[in-house]
Amino acid sequence: MVIQPGPVIFNTLHLPEPWKLSTYVSAGGYSALRKILAENIPAETIIAEVKTSALRGRGGAGFPTGLKWSFMPRQFPGDKYIVCNSDEGEPGTFKDRDIMRYNPHALIEGMIIAGYTLGAKAGYNYIHGEIWDIYEGMERAVEEARAAGYLGDNILGSDFSFDLYNHHGYGAYICGEETALLESIEGKKGQPRFKPPFPASFGLYGKPTTINNTETLASIPYIMREGGQKFLELGRPNNGGTKVFSVSGHVEKPGNYEIPMGTPFSELLEMAGGIRGGRQLKAVIPGGSSAPVLPGEIMMDCTMDFDSIAKAGSMLGSGAVIVMDETVCMVRALERLSYFYYEESCGQCTPCREGTGWMYRVVHRIEHGQGRPEDLDLLDRVAGNIAGRTICALGDAAAMPVQGMLKHYRHEFEHHIEHRKCLVQSGAM
């Protein structure tokens, strides 16, 4: 698998043992933290810098990080927490895994700076259970940082104390939803909480909590080292910095690519070696399995940033680019996706618990030659009755692929129903 280095996230990748503390320090790591602590830089200044950078959450929603940080009631007496969401479960997404594997200290430094800024004395890094070796690697990195005085009491001789704990889940997709993640850290069943109240006021153990994605936090040291403006200029207005795109599917060189925001999709596809075997591009899911699919020709006109993809009718999401060539049967692809949401729904609220299974069964039936003419309207209606009606975004995430597929590839579904077989030959997903 290819990893394309970049200035922000994979900035140690060209060096031997890029995950080591010494390597990270040699590449300028922890200098931002040293500066902040030595000069006692006020939290407002840091938040302003992050706002300047136009860093937007890398977990999928793209919420401006500086703004999120400003919601935190820093003056609130008592405990506050910073939580890193490394529960990367979205099908197609595999960037945070590599960030933690190759540059764990960028994340650790980012979390310490976030803790300093938000008034948190403790941080939790929630890593999903299937990547045990990554969890162990993070544990080693945290130990290294602690031994070097970057974590613990009176960091680097300052009066700032902060500690960081890695916490591993057991692989439930829903625990990537931030409030389910908090429940899971608290030792409860991973089920989303109803919002409001939001975590900024009632988060982990009922205390004000800020939750950011791994890549978001790993971008912080660069911003504080090089300045928000420089980070912004790496990308485009309102879409600052570089971003790691996990390219998978029918490309020659799948992998993680750290490229500037706003890079044309065509360039990213080229970097990834183009479509495998010289076949034609059929469709792309641009932001992880929850994002609506876009036909290849629309994607070829897009640039890889939040605004461009949103304009085209999908989402940049976590930056998981799933590329499908002409051999893909969209019915089968949707069956696979629907099955995922059916299995991963937490079962708490009605539309998602009941609706995801219904959608999967209908798509499954169509795929297996049992479709009925009325099924497509039914699917559309069921998806519509889930979207926007649930406690968390999983309902939307389950509905959007269905709606996207039906919008762009309805004819393939109709063909399946009418002829009880695929429109395309030799589907392989």
């Binding site: 069943k189 937490c346 079962g347 609220c349 009605t350 926007g388 406690i391």
Partner: protein, 786 residues
Amino acid sequence: MALNIEIDGQQIEVEPGTTVMDAAHKLGIYIPHFCYHKKLSIAANCRMCLVQVEKAPKPLPACATPVSDGMKVMTRSDYAIQAQKGVMEFLLINHPLDCPICDQGGECQLQDLAVGYGGSRSNYAEPKRVVTEKNLGPLIATDMTRCIHCTRCVRFGQEIAGIMEMGQAFRGEHAEIMPFIDKTIDSELSGNIIDLCPVGALTSKPFRYAARAWELSRRKGVSPHDSLGSNLQIQVKNGRVMRVLPLENEDINECWLSDRDRFSYEGLNSEDRLTKPMIRKDGAWVEADWQEALSYVASRLREIQVRHGADQIGALAAPTQTTEELYLLQKLMRGLGCGNIDHRLRQSDFRLDDKAHGAFWLGMPVAALNKLDRFLIVGSTLRKDHPLLALRLRQAVRHGAGMNLINPVVEDYLCKVANRSIVSPDGMVNALAGLVRALAEAKGERIPTMASGAEVTPEIKAIAESMIGGERKGIFLGNLAQHHPRYAEMQTLAQEAAMLAGATLGVLGDAGNALGAVVAGAIPGRGALGSRGMAGMNAAQMIASPRKAYVLLGAEAEYDCFDPVAALAALKQAEFVVAMSSYKHAAVDYADVLLPIAPFTETSGTFINAEGRVQSFHGAVKPMGETRPAWKVLRVLGNLLNLPGFDQDSSEAVRDEALGQDAQARVQQFLNTRIDPVSVSLASTSKIERIGEVPIYQTDAIVRRAASLQRTADAAPPMAKASGMLLEKLGIQGGGMAIIRQGEVSVVIRIDRDDCLPANCVRLPGAHAVTVSLGPLFGELTVERA
């Protein structure tokens, strides 16, 4: 600052923090819902209450959406209805729609709302989900396939019952509401989840397939099983009580019932019911008609009175009888010239009888319990004795109240106990004296003489510190204290402690109408409402100095008395015993006449609960067989004995005679827990003491015959328990058999180790078939290896 909101075109002003659901409720607008319940936390998981909110990008759940100023809500717009119908469709796809064979049919929220929001045909053509049954024990039947995962039962456990016995396991469509693996639901409040379940997933096991909701008539009732007096909805079909549900009363039981109040009705329909008067003739029981039986009773009582003196008659009444019955009984006895009447069958210390200034009561309204800041419970198996009072106290603790305990046993109170002093029964007196001393010292006041020699343990000191703080506080004497052989000393000390701490002293009350019995004058020396009454013997004296004749009203001496063996011996030696009872019971061995009297559902009457609330009720069903209401029986008996003042033609007339027209006000005036102090001894025994509480499902004759309750974990035959230290000293293995001896009598019973118990104590509950052959509930005993 009040917020203005418009719902369906109607304006209303509400407080900040109000939800759309609450605001709509105030306007009388119904928003369909399943998971929302006013007494439970907000889950927002059913999504049935989705409504349209102006400017909101999607429909919002009314139950969880806080009102904001100027908000415009539409609950019946096309948009809202479409969202609600969408949810209903989802709820129905996996619901079995087996309404014709579902017990919830006719009273099912899903069924009701499906009429308004469901389609007439299903678009779901796939196989439906099937969920395996769970065994929740003898009270709750499950059909978990019908579950709609509203989690009301789960939240009830966590938030109200205090113990999370139900939870949601698995994910998504595989999610199941279930108890912990292979566990049953054992909470004493478990039946409430039947009411909470909006579908037929959780239904009543004893009521299963017995009747349809629409076949049942609903009658109001009041429960006699504990001093709370829970309000009941007694559901009746063909003259038979089929089911009991809570009748909502925010001041008493809220919308809850304890399992004891809910399922005791099975005892009303027990095989054991006595349905015909019976007379023992030449040693054999023969059925008689009422005329014959009552004439016989009258002539025998008259004969005893004449031959031995009225003083040779004793009347023992159960404190679960109505105020009217108890009033007529004392009137009858005193009419005969006999002052020997008592209802305090489990009490052993009567030193307060001439020290009291009124009827002992809770000291505050029941509804004030949840608002306490600090409280101390003295001698109580609280959850089992007073399930719903315990609930209120738990709520107080949830809101930050400090709970303190002076007790001989440790229970799981299901909430944080701030401080506890676990001491032997005898040690409770010393502990209370210590508390008085500690409180006086803490306040810099002179230490009262009664407590001057008391030891202040660190636990007692902590309790004193806790009780000094806070605004609203109470000290409550529980059943273990009331039955205690040194009850008078305990109440004396508790009164002193309450005075020093600025707390209210209350007595929790050991039976449904214990307070009503005092008000009715069913105690020696006092008539109705504390008027002077003929003096006589109390319950213990009537047993200690056996009488020639006994009149039993609802009392089953072998279960209901402090010392069952002595009570039985006294009854057996008597020349004549008349047992007025709803049941055939051990009286067949010692009585001469059995008169079938109506239990609380078959007569009108009045119960007065621990807060002094006078609650009158009508009979819910006709008396079974030839059973008669006891007030009528006593009235006729009065006539047959030619006593004056027995011409009441209704129970209301009896009540008015006893309590006056303004009964509530008069009772209120009579409530007073103040006593003149008795002298307190700080000497304590070195002998092994018995801790004999009355188990939750052994309290009274009806409960003891409620078949399903008797199959619960709480009804398991009691065994002895002692600390490991004591067992070691006695050379007994925990779990081994022991011979436990009290005076002349003994039982062989399994003894388990319980290191929470005080050193020199054996906990051995009374009032159960396996322990009634033993002596008093408290007192010395000896233990040896069997």
